[in-house]
C-alpha cells in the first residue's frame, strides 16, 4: 500500500472535515438560538415558546436559505463552466422578483407557495436568457461572464423596479431585494424545507453535475444526457432561488462564496463535496445573521448587508489568488 501525506485514506479524508463543519454548525446554531433582543431566560416570554416560535424558525431559515443558495450556485457554475457566477449573476434572482411582481399584480391573493412556483418558472426563463447570452461570451476570460450577468440582471432588476414603482409595490420589492431574517417566525418560513428535499435530489445527481462541469463535448462523450441533465439541474436551481427570494429575500454572494471556498479546500468532486457546500452556505448565512444581530445590538442589520461586505472581500480574494500550478 502506498500512502502520501495528502491522503490519509478516504474515510479519514472525509471524517475530519465533516467533524470540523459539524462542530462549526452546532456552535453557530447554539449561538443563534441564544442571541436576540428578548432574553431566553427570565424574560416575560416562556423559553420554550420563544425558541419554537422565533429562534428555531429563524435559525432553520438561515441554514436552509444558505445551503440552498450555495447548492444553487454550484449548479449554475457547473452548467456554464464558470466559477464566478451565482443565481444573482445569471438573472435568476432578478427574474424571480420580476415574476413575483407580475404575479402580485395579476393575482394578489395567490398563496405564497404558488407564487414561489410561478416565480421559479420566471427564474428558469430568465436563466435560459442568460444561457443564450453566455453562449456568445468567450470562455477564455472567466471574468466576462459575471459582468454580462451583472448587466443582464441589472436590466431585469430595472424592469422589476419600474413595474413595482408604477403599481406602488416598492415596499414589497424592497423586502425581496434585501434578504433578512428578523421577520421569520413560525408559519412564515416552512416553504424553505422544500430546499432540503431539492438539495437531496441534486445530491443524487452529484456525478452528473460534476460531468456538466466538464463541458458539453466531454460530458456527452462520457455518456451524459447533457441537455436533459442541465435543464433539470437549472429548473431545481431556479426553484431554490425563488423559494429563498419569496421567503427571506435575495442574499447575494452566498452562491459564489460557499462553492468556491469548498472547491478550493476540497476540489470539484460533488459526490464528496456537495454536502460540504450546503453546510458551508448554511453556516455562512447563519453567521452573517448572528453578526447582524450583534453589531448594533439590540437593533438588527440585515444578513444580506452583512454578507455582502464579507462576500465582497472573499470574492476579491478569489479573484486575486490563483492556485499554484506547474507549467510545462
Amino acid at each position: 500500500m502506498r500512502s502520501s501525506p495528502r491522503s490519509p485514506g478516504p474515510i479519514a479524508d472525509l471524517l475530519r472535515p465533516a467533524i470540523l463543519i459539524a462542530a462549526a454548525l452546532i456552535a453557530l446554531t447554539t449561538a443563534s438560538l441564544a442571541i436576540g433582543s428578548a432574553s431566553l431566560w427570565g424574560g416575560d416570554l416562556g423559553t420554550g415558546w420563544l425558541l419554537a416560535v422565533s429562534r428555531f424558525p429563524r435559525t432553520a431559515a438561515a441554514l436552509l436559505a444558505g445551503a440552498g443558495l450555495a447548492v444553487a450556485g454550484t449548479v449554475v457554475q457547473q452548467a456554464v463552466q464558470n466559477r464566478l457566477v451565482e443565481p444573482s449573476l445569471t438573472g435568476t434572482t432578478e427574474s424571480a422578483m420580476l415574476g413575483l411582481i407580475a404575479i402580485t399584480l395579476i393575482a394578489p391573493g395567490m398563496s405564497i407557495g404558488w407564487k414561489a412556483a410561478l416565480a421559479a418558472v420566471a427564474a428558469l426563463a430568465g436563466t435560459g436568457g442568460f444561457l443564450m447570452l453566455a453562449r456568445r461570451v468567450p470562455m477564455q476570460d472567466p471574468l466576462l461572464l459575471p459582468i454580462v450577468g451583472l448587466i443582464y440582471g441589472g436590466i431585469l432588476s430595472a424592469m422589476a423596479i419600474w413595474l413595482a414603482w408604477n403599481a406602488d409595490l416598492m415596499q414589497l420589492l424592497g423586502a425581496w431585494r434585501l434578504g433578512e431574517f428578523s421577520g421569520i417566525v413560525q408559519g412564515r418560513y416552512e416553504l424553505l424545507w422544500i430546499i432540503a428535499a431539492l438539495s437531496l435530489l441534486l445530491y443524487t445527481l452529484a456525478d452528473r453535475l460534476t460531468l456538466l462541469g466538464l463541458g458539453e463535448t466531454q460530458a456527452r462523450s462520457l455518456g451524459l444526457n447533457y441537455t436533459q441533465t442541465r435543464l433539470l439541474a437549472l429548473a431545481v436551481m431556479s426553484l431554490i432561488a425563488s423559494l429563498v427570494t419569496v421567503t427571506v429575500g435575495a442574499l447575494p454572494f452566498v452562491g459564489l462564496v460557499a462553492p468556491n471556498l469548498i472547491s478550493r479546500w476540497r476540489g470539484d468532486n460533488l459526490r464528496a463535496n456537495l454536502p460540504f457546500i450546503a453546510a458551508g452556505g448554511g453556516g455562512l448565512v447563519l453567521a452573517a445573521d448572528i453578526a447582524g444581530r450583534l453589531i448594533r445590538y439590540p437593533y438588527e442589520i440585515p444578513a444580506a448587508t452583512v454578507f455582502s461586505v464579507f462576500g465582497a472581500a472573499i470574492f476579491l480574494w478569489l479573484l486575486h489568488s490563483v492556485p499554484a500550478r506547474s507549467h510545462g
Binding site: 502506498r2 491522503s7 464558470n82 452529484a206 456525478d207 460534476t210 462541469g213 463541458g215 444526457n225 510545462g328
Partner: protein, 252 residues
C-alpha cells in the same frame, strides 16, 4: 468497423465536410492528417455522435451513434476533445474514474475501481493519482485524460490532436502506449487526429488524409505518405526519406 456514407456537414453557409464516404477497419491506429481547416475534427465529432451531420450516415459496428442512448454509446466509443477549456478541480484518480461512469451510472462496483487502477498503472499515473489536475503540467494532464478514455474500456478510442500539449518525449510515450493497446489482446481501435506527420508515419497502421472537407488519400502509411500526395495535401513540397523501415517526412 466504422462506416461513413455520404457525410456532409455545413456550418452556416460553409461546407465543412463534403459528401464523405469511408470505412475504418477495427484494430490498430488510424491517423487523420491534413492541413488546418480540412475537417478532421468535424469528421471525428460526427463519428463520435457528438455533432449531427447535415446529411449522410455513420455506423459504429452497425450502430447509429445518433439514435443510440448516450451511456450505451459511451460504452462503445470513447472520445477525447482537442483541449479542455476549463480544467476541473478533480484529482487524477477521480478524473480517470469518470471514465467508468457510462458503465456504472453513479453506482461504482469493485470492477470499476479495478479498471480505474489499471488505467492509472497503464499510463504510469500512480504517483500523480492524488494530485489535482490543475497543478499538473499540460503533458501530465493530457496523459490523465487519455487514461480516462482508456478506463472507459471501449472498443473504439477517438482522440482529437492528443499530442498538442506534449513535448517530443511525452508525445512518443503516448503514441507508444496507444500502439501497445491497439495491438493488445483486448484489441482497441484507435482513431487519432495528428498534425505531426512523422508521428503518423512512425505509429499509424492506416492514414486518412483530408483536405477541404474531402478525403485526399487513404490507405497504408507507405501509400499515403508520398511526396506527391503530401505536396497536394499541404501545398508545400516534401521529401520522403526512409528511417527504420518507416517513411520520414521533411519539408523541402
Amino acid at each position: 468497423m466504422i462506416k461513413v456514407e455520404g457525410l456532409s456537414k455545413n456550418a452556416g453557409a460553409v461546407e465543412i465536410l463534403k459528401d464523405l464516404t469511408l470505412s475504418i477497419p477495427p484494430g490498430g491506429i488510424t491517423a487523420l492528417i491534413g492541413p488546418n481547416g480540412a475537417g478532421k475534427s468535424s469528421l471525428l465529432h460526427c463519428i463520435a455522435g457528438l455533432d449531427r451531420p447535415t446529411s449522410g450516415m455513420v455506423r459504429i459496428d452497425g450502430t447509429d451513434p445518433f439514435s443510440c442512448p448516450d451511456r450505451e454509446r459511451a460504452r462503445h466509443l470513447a472520445f477525447l476533445q482537442q483541449s479542455q477549456p476549463v480544467v476541473p478541480r478533480l484529482t487524477v484518480r477521480d478524473m480517470v474514474a469518470f471514465g467508468r461512469w457510462p458503465h456504472h451510472g453513479g453506482r461504482p462496483r469493485p470492477e470499476d475501481a479495478e479498471a480505474t487502477e489499471q488505467a492509472l498503472r497503464a499510463f504510469e499515473l500512480e504517483d500523480l493519482s492524488e494530485r489535482p489536475l490543475e497543478v499538473l503540467s499540460g503533458g501530465q494532464r493530457q496523459r490523465a485524460l487519455v487514461a480516462m478514455t482508456y478506463a472507459q474500456a471501449t472498443p473504439w478510442l477517438l482522440l482529437d490532436e492528443p499530442l498538442n500539449a506534449l513535448d517530443p518525449r511525452h508525445a512518443h510515450d503516448l503514441m507508444r502506449r496507444l500502439n501497445d493497446l491497439s495491438h493488445a489482446a483486448d484489441e482497441r481501435s484507435v482513431v487519432v487526429v495528428l498534425h505531426d506527420i512523422n508521428a503518423a508515419a512512425r505509429w499509424a497502421d492506416r492514414i486518412i488524409a483530408m483536405k477541404d472537407g474531402r478525403i485526399a488519400a487513404e490507405g497504408l502509411v507507405a501509400e499515403v505518405l508520398t511526396g506527391e500526395v503530401l505536396r497536394d495535401l499541404y501545398d508545400t513540397p516534401f521529401d520522403v526519406l526512409v528511417h527504420g523501415g518507416r517513411p520520414l517526412v521533411v519539408t523541402v
